[in-house]
């Protein structure tokens, strides 16, 4: 043993000190989450699919996905696993599809578990690929570009909304200030149809919602001498458009068309409360709603996330150390369909809310 004295000393020192480090790592508390349901059924489809993404920003970095029915997934990254992580919308998708969506000319859009990717290389043909996560399949389609779209310069195609078998796509020349064109792609018959938006703009067109032939959109134009850009809201049936006046807040928060296509929901978040307006497209009448939300704003930050999706308002707010309140509200009826509290038994202040994700 004396012959290897120095090797042994350093080996023991290494083993002991790294052992101390490993024990220290083991001794660091990790959040232990439980979900307490206040009201509503956490197993109903609109709630079951929701997960809260929480990050532990303390000494030991841990990511948590907490489902409202109490399931908790934990992930710890090291340097190597971090190198091989892919973006969220690529998870599980085949390499060819991932290769396609990372092309410069391709834009993606995700709706109900399907990622749509679309682009055009040379303006002569449009390439569409979509990854259906549930069915684990990629659908590839190539269309000849519509005649008016071929005249555009560098064309950017933005898939915007899927409704039934129709995928609505915006086409815009990103080099020149040309008008934005809207197309409906029939995914069953592989046809492209131009949707006429009678009121057009040299600026940007933002589609707020599409339902059958009903399209709600707004245009933005830069007004010379003014700081803000001018936003004008329109309702179109594909033939004619009418301007919707008196709705000022549509561009401030989150505005979406209801799933039945008859109402416009405009959501605005304020500290400790949510305000939203339901605008009936037929009667042109508005109803205002508001609801108080429990939240705290202290040195650890507010930790707030709100999203309007399928007529439901999903909001999560930090209400204390390691406590996050989740509310799911039916925007049309103002009814709370679910309320629950995600609680960290250890009440760790280092755990922060990132977002709510829907699977």
């Amino acid at each position: 043993m004396r012959k290897f004295k120095f090797v042994l000393i350093l080996a023991v020192v290494s083993f002991l000190t790294l052992g101390i480090y490993a024990l220290f790592i083991r001794s660091i508390d990790e959040s232990d989450f439980i979900v307490e349901t206040v009201q509503g059924d956490p197993k109903q489809p609109a709630v079951r699919s929701v997960q809260a993404e929480l990050y532990d920003e303390g000494l030991k970095k841990v990511d948590y996905n907490v489902a409202l029915d109490g399931r908790v997934e934990k992930a710890k990254d090291n340097w190597i696993s971090g190198m091989f992580e892919g973006p969220y919308n690529e998870n599980g998708a085949p390499a060819d599809f991932r290769r396609f969506i990372r092309s410069d000319y391709v834009l993606t859009f995700e709706q109900q578990g399907t990622t749509y990717a679309m682009g055009t290389k040379d303006n002569n043909k449009w390439e569409l690929q979509y990854w259906e996560k549930g069915k684990q399949r990629v659908v590839k389609k190539i269309f000849p570009a519509p005649p008016e779209a071929r005249k555009l310069g560098e064309t950017q195609l933005s898939p915007d909304k899927r409704f039934g078998n129709s995928l609505y796509v915006l086409a815009q020349d990103i080099q020149n200030d040309s008008e934005t064109l809207l197309y409906k792609i029939d995914l069953k018959n592989d046809t492209i149809q131009k949707i006429n938006l009678p009121v057009i703009s040299k600026g940007e067109i933002i589609i707020l919602g599409i339902h059958n032939e009903t399209i709600v959109y707004y245009t933005t134009e830069i007004v010379e001498g003014a700081d803000d850009e001018k936003q004008t809201l329109y309702l179109s049936d594909g033939e004619k458009s009418q301007r919707l006046k008196g709705l000022k807040s549509f561009g401030d928060g989150e505005t979406k068309l209801s799933t039945d296509g008859t109402k416009l929901i405009m959501l605005e978040c304020e500290p400790k409360k949510l305000n939203w307006t339901i605008y009936d497209l037929a009667s042109k009448k508005s109803i205002k709603h508001k609801i108080s939300i429990p939240s705290v704003t202290d040195e650890s930050g507010s930790g707030e996330y709100t999203e309007l999706k399928d007529d439901l308002i999903y909001t999560a707010n930090r209400t204390g150390d390691g406590v996050f309140n989740v509310l799911v509200i039916d925007a049309l009826s103002e009814r709370v369909i679910y309320e629950g509290n995600i609680k960290d038994k250890l009440k760790r202040t280092e755990t922060t809310l990132n977002s709510l994700v829907y699977n």
């Binding site: 290897f4 004295k5 120095f6 290494s14 101390i20 790592i25 340097w79 390499a95 290769r99």
Partner: protein
């Protein structure tokens, strides 16, 4: 195996005083900086209290409390010095055999059996020094934290245990990262060994020329690889990571293979 372990032991024995001195010096400096920072903070608060005629709590509100993260802010500089010393040791461990009074290298090269054990004995010594360095540094951080808590008044201390962002890069609280850090360190050691053996194989201008060529080759592999990947633009980020990892593993193996070849065929007594 026995001969390899004895050689490793001999390498460590020859550097033992230096290793112990450096470790003790670094630990002392780090602990002293924490003690000094606590004393400085308390003195500042006391001076402010007497100058501004305010209470202790008011002075602490103005100055803020001292966290261990602040008190240990100099640790990263000491660690950087430690890294430089390890790099110098990786070079010195070879050159001392040639430039020492006894020309120890002749005894090593004339040992029966292959010369690979000479290379791996030095390589293992460096590996043990690096692991000890990482582990002891953590022990010093913990010891400093205990001294910090013992020394500072409770109302002067802020929050619980935390370390600076730079230290968090080294201590990520993931044991796998320690292993990766060790592999990266050993790659640097192997690369330095190869450069030293190149110089010792060809000597003077020719040796320097080969060193320059080897460094240029490494830069070409790195920059060229990145340029080709970006120009082709066909790889996914995970594939790029895979390619980079494969290049790293291959080059790591190359540095060891090249060093062993130089030691076997080029370096003569």
């Amino acid at each position: 195996m026995k001969q390899y372990l004895m050689l490793t032991n001999e390498e460590l024995k020859r550097s033992w005083k230096m290793i112990v001195a450096v470790i003790l010096a670094m630990a002392s400096i780090e602990i002293l900086t924490v003690v000094g920072r606590v004393i400085y903070q308390e003195r500042q608060v006391r001076n402010y209290m007497s100058d501004a005629k305010v209470t202790e709590s008011e002075a602490l509100r103005s100055f803020g409390k001292l966290s261990f993260e602040q008190a240990s802010s100099y640790f990263s500089y000491v660690i950087m010095i430690g890294i430089v010393l390890v790099i110098l040791y990786a070079i010195q461990i070879w050159y001392r055999d040639w430039f020492g009074e006894s020309k120890y290298i002749y005894r090593l090269l004339l040992l029966p059996g292959g010369r690979a054990k000479i290379f791996f004995a030095k390589w293992t010594s460096l590996a043990l020094v690096i692991i000890s360095f990482i582990g002891l540094q953590w022990a010093v951080i913990q010891l400093s934290y205990a001294i910090f808590n013992w020394l500072i008044k409770n109302n002067y201390r802020a929050s619980s245990f935390d370390i600076s962002m730079t230290l968090k890069q080294l201590y990520t609280m993931n044991v796998v990262d320690v292993l990766i850090l060790l592999i990266l360190s050993l790659f640097v050691v192997s690369f330095l060994f190869m450069l030293v053996l190149l110089e010792r194989s060809y000597r003077k201008a020719k040796g320097l020329l080969f060193i320059v060529l080897e460094v240029i080759a490494l830069l070409v592999i790195m920059m060229g690889g990145m340029y080709v990947i970006e120009t082709l633009d066909i790889f996914l980020s995970q594939e790029i990571s895979g390619i980079m990892l494969a290049i790293f593993v291959l080059y790591f193996a190359y540095t060891i293979w090249k060093s062993l070849r130089l030691l076997k065929w080029k370096i003569s007594v």
